[in-house]
Symmetry: C3
Subunit: 137 residues, 3 copies
């Protein structure tokens, strides 16, 4: 048996899609109304694995995980326009898709977990109809 723990949290942010190398018509044709900034109530679910602590019967110290998630997810994205206000997306010209957000957060969070705790999966849901998952291979 393998055991994982999933912590979920929300943040509210806006985004729009716009490829600068494309014409306005091309952008509209590909992204529709999403070329205008619009809000989402994002949900982010972070799944970790690790050995059971024999004293607490838990696989991660939750306050430590919550501290990392607060910094990497909430402080970074809450209330922002992702394609404009967050350097990682704005400067790199990365489109703020669910897929790109999940991949970005996977790398950030994986780099910060305590020793012995592994990041298994990051799921980013922009609304109940669309979500992306980045999974450890």
């Amino acid at each position: 048996m393998a055991t994982t723990l999933t912590r979920s949290l929300g943040f509210r942010a806006t985004h729009r899609y716009w490829v600068p190398e494309w014409s306005a018509e091309q952008n509209r044709s590909r992204f529709g109304s999403a070329i205008e900034a619009h809000p989402h109530d994002y949900r982010c679910a972070v799944t970790v694995s690790g050995p059971f602590d024999p004293e607490t019967d838990m696989i991660v110290e939750l306050p430590a995980l919550d501290g990392i998630l607060y910094e990497e997810v909430v402080q970074r994205f809450q209330g922002k326009q992702l394609d404009r206000d967050t350097p990682e997306f704005a400067a790199a010209g990365m489109q703020p898709s669910c897929e790109a957000l999940a991949r970005y957060l996977f790398r950030r969070i994986a780099a910060r977990l305590p020793a012995g705790v592994a990041l298994e999966r990051v799921r980013v849901e922009e609304d109940p109809s669309l979500a992306a998952e980045c999974t450890k291979e």
Copy 2:
């Protein structure tokens, strides 16, 4: 890391279970009140994988996927009595279980995805207490 995208959509349909080779008593004993047609607000979640498009930072062109899902899921099942109105279940005598729906939709959708996009999983939920998943092996 592997990245997937999941699109979810709903449809409303009715179904009942009835094995023609069984007596009424056998059917009632096995399926209970589900031998009578009853409605469900189904949710269907379709998970795909593929390489990141370097221009859009997405792994699938969403309008194309939505078009396929509209035809294969909504047009096929919305408002129907699955065991009576959809030839795939009626003619084949296939019981309209979550499992059978997930497997059927997996085959239909997998056959239509654009080149480079793979179908990873189809989940069919008939209500919050019961769901089936068909996964690529």
Copy 3:
């Protein structure tokens, strides 16, 4: 393709965390307000696999599965204070974490499934922000 079926059910229970070998200060420092008993509306999702029954197009006889889940989950935990009223946690000094509950239920349910049906996963969610999964390896 592999097909699974997931049955979800809820139970209401209270729990608290307290390691007897630790001082009150240590317990408070690690668990915060969770050292006091508090309720959760737990959700438990049990995922099984098995061959399609050619007559019913289902992979498990649902009434049989529901009977097992009623005994192992609802009867065992509903309305209890997990760390005090359930011998498995109280006597063994096991902390009633999501992880421990998922692992415990995995073992109990796996041992009772009908021949040919395999337990793939047990998920225990204590609230929308925290869940644990125990998966067959």
